[in-house]
Amino acid sequence: MSRIAACFQALKAQGKTALIPYVTAGDPHPSITVPLMHQMVEAGASIIELGVPFSDPMADGPTIQLAHERSLVHNTSLANILAMVSEFRQTNQTTPVVLMGYLNPIEIMGYEAFAKAAQEAGVDGVLTVDLPPEEGKSVLPLFKAHGLDPIFLVAPTTPAHRMQAIAEAASGFVYYVSLKGVTGANTLDTTEVAARLQQMREYTQLPLGVGFGIKDAATAKAIGQVADAVVVGSALIKQVETTPNDHTAIIKNISGLLASMRSALDA
């Protein structure tokens, strides 16, 4: 069983919702990422989404754009990030790690080479924002062959027939984007989200995560009541912006926010 499947199975047995933090690898410095990952696990993270920075993050709002820029100042590469995952795996064999980013850094590394290296490093899933199932016909089987779950987004604009196609291409979990727009945007309609998840369940048995617009314990709790997983990104990264030069404070503040979400979800 994959680490992601095992993770969801264990949470289900405990009646818990998965909490999935997103941080951009190498933000604000490559040296912070591995300690931050461990600390997030301590604070209650179930799965870690590690952002692979890209020069042109078209689907991201200003907060994550800046995170990518801060990371790229240090030339953080996909290879560097795989090394971070390997290091994380030296002491953590259970928490799944999903890489989230854009296609080009993977394309340049080469799909076969990437899939192999990612598997060796201990990566569990890959979410490529700009690779819809239509364009992934040759790539996705390679990922699966190397034990990498392809994670896909489902959007408010996704019609039923696409939900089905995505469900067929996906494994691990499916990530519902709770609003139209870029990451870090504001409003969230829980009733609407619940209705869409209901619709999505007609096509898949996979766990359903929800992200975009979750910024505190209250929104996490509200979404946690209808979803199997809650994804939080921009709200965590804002903690980097507050004290960009103080790594201890960044780790403390991010884990603090996560812990408050974890308690709200578990309450």
Binding site: S55, D56, A59, D130, E134, L153, T158
Partner: protein
């Protein structure tokens, strides 16, 4: 493959690919809107009423057909092939960009969209979008790199006069690619009421095909005009390539004419060897950006690198996927000229023919100056004079140390 027998109109294929290039590499939120756009466009493009409306606007609003002008003095001075200029600079708003914005705006209206967004580099596409939005009473927001806002001030003011909101983009390199990123972010957020008018033959399918179709009027007219004026097909076509819309517009109707050599001219900036250029076809490699797979300027890690060109309209790290395909097929050749050569092209055309070209088109001119003397006097070249240079006079003055 035999170029004369290939059905060039059958590309891209049904999934929007030109061989390995093109496609739809976009976020899920935009997939369904992109399919809706493709459907709307494919049902309208063969609709006689839509074509009639497009043709009527091109004739009476843009002023088409644009002349094919035999540049006699320039031809004599260069001492080789006859040089014909396809005068897109004489279009309403001063460049070829309006051909495409009219087509897409009619489509937007048919789709019931009330808001138009656009990205712009030199500002010509922004002006053309603002123009058509004013005429159709649509809200218009134009994204423009902060760097370009500075170097293309007259066009920024024109857009504002036309009622558009110009949003300077401060992220990344603050040029065209960043404006495109920001326009995509707007589109993903406001997709219900908004139509994104992409200004070049790049982006997710169907944009590269749709923009090419609208711009192909350039080549169709030029082909007919040269047969009337010169009695035979040209020996060569030359056009500048940023995203490549004026180039594909000129090239496409000639692709099956095997005897016609095709040259796309990229911006070599300070020189290809300096790395400070905007010539992905000449010095880049394949990758995925802005919704399509194409030649890109990128580093070993797949990050897009900053480009440099004197011309804002060519200052882009990618290129339309059809150009990437034509390059690999060998149907078109892509060359690059430096900022300095483009300046020479600019002054030459201005002084020899009394035509002030845009800095983008000056790149094509510079290559014509190399090519023409190598051809015989009975041969001919058509160059796409894609835009007029009024917008660039501040840049030229600054580069030459002149205070206006």
């Amino acid at each position: 493959m035999k170029f004369s027998e290939f059905n060039w109109n059958a590309m891209p294929d049904v999934t929007g690919h030109f061989g390995a290039y093109g496609g739809r590499f976009i976020a899920e939120t935009l997939m369904e809107p992109i399919y809706q756009l493709e459907q709307a466009y494919s049902s309208l493009k063969n609709d006689p009423a839509f074509q009639a409306e497009f043709d009527r606007d091109l004739k009476h609003y843009v002023g088409r057909p644009s002349p094919l002008y035999f540049a006699e003095r320039l031809t004599r001075e260069l001492g080789g092939a006859k040089i014909f200029l396809k005068r897109e600079d004489l279009n309403h708003t001063g460049a070829h960009k309006i051909n495409n914005t009219i087509g897409q705006a009619i489509l937007a209206k048919h789709m019931g969209k009330t808001r138009i967004i656009a990205e712009t580099g030199a500002g010509q596409h922004g002006v053309a979008s603002a123009t058509i939005a004013a005429r159709l009473g649509l809200e218009c927001v134009v994204y423009m790199g902060a760097e370009d806002v500075k170097r293309q001030a007259p066009n920024v003011f024109r857009m504002k006069l036309l009622g558009a909101t110009v949003v300077p983009v401060h992220s990344g390199s603050k040029t065209l690619k960043d404006a495109l990123n920001e326009a995509m972010r707007d589109w993903v957020t406001n997709v219900d009421n908004t139509f994104y008018i992409i200004g070049t033959v790049a982006g997710p399918h169907p944009y590269p095909a749709m923009v090419r179709d609208f711009q192909s009027v350039i080549g169709r007219e030029a082909r007919q005009q040269i047969l009337e004026q010169d009695g035979c097909l040209p020996d060569a076509l030359v056009a500048c390539v940023g995203g490549g819309s004026n180039a594909i517009g000129l090239f496409h109707p000639f692709l099956a004419d095997e005897s016609v050599a095709i040259y796309g001219v990229e911006a070599a900036g300070s020189g290809i060897s300096t790395g400070k250029h905007a010539a992905p076809l000449t010095a880049g490699k394949s990758g995925v950006l802005h919704g399509n797979r194409t030649y890109l300027m990128e580093d070993a890690n797949g990050q897009i690198i900053e480009t440099h060109s004197i011309s804002a309209g060519l200052d882009y790290p990618g290129v339309g996927p059809e150009h990437s395909w034509l390059k690999d097929l060998g149907r078109a050749q892509y060359v690059a000229v430096t900022d300095a050569q483009a300046m020479e092209g600019f002054h030459t055309l201005t002084r020899k023919e009394g035509i002030i070209p845009a800095l983008e088109s000056s790149h094509a001119m510079a290559y014509v100056m190399e090519l023409a003397p190598t051809l015989a006097k009975n041969q001919s070249i058509i160059m796409c004079l894609s835009g007029r240079g009024d917008k660039d006079i501040n840049t030229i003055a600054r580069l030459e140390g002149i205070t206006l």
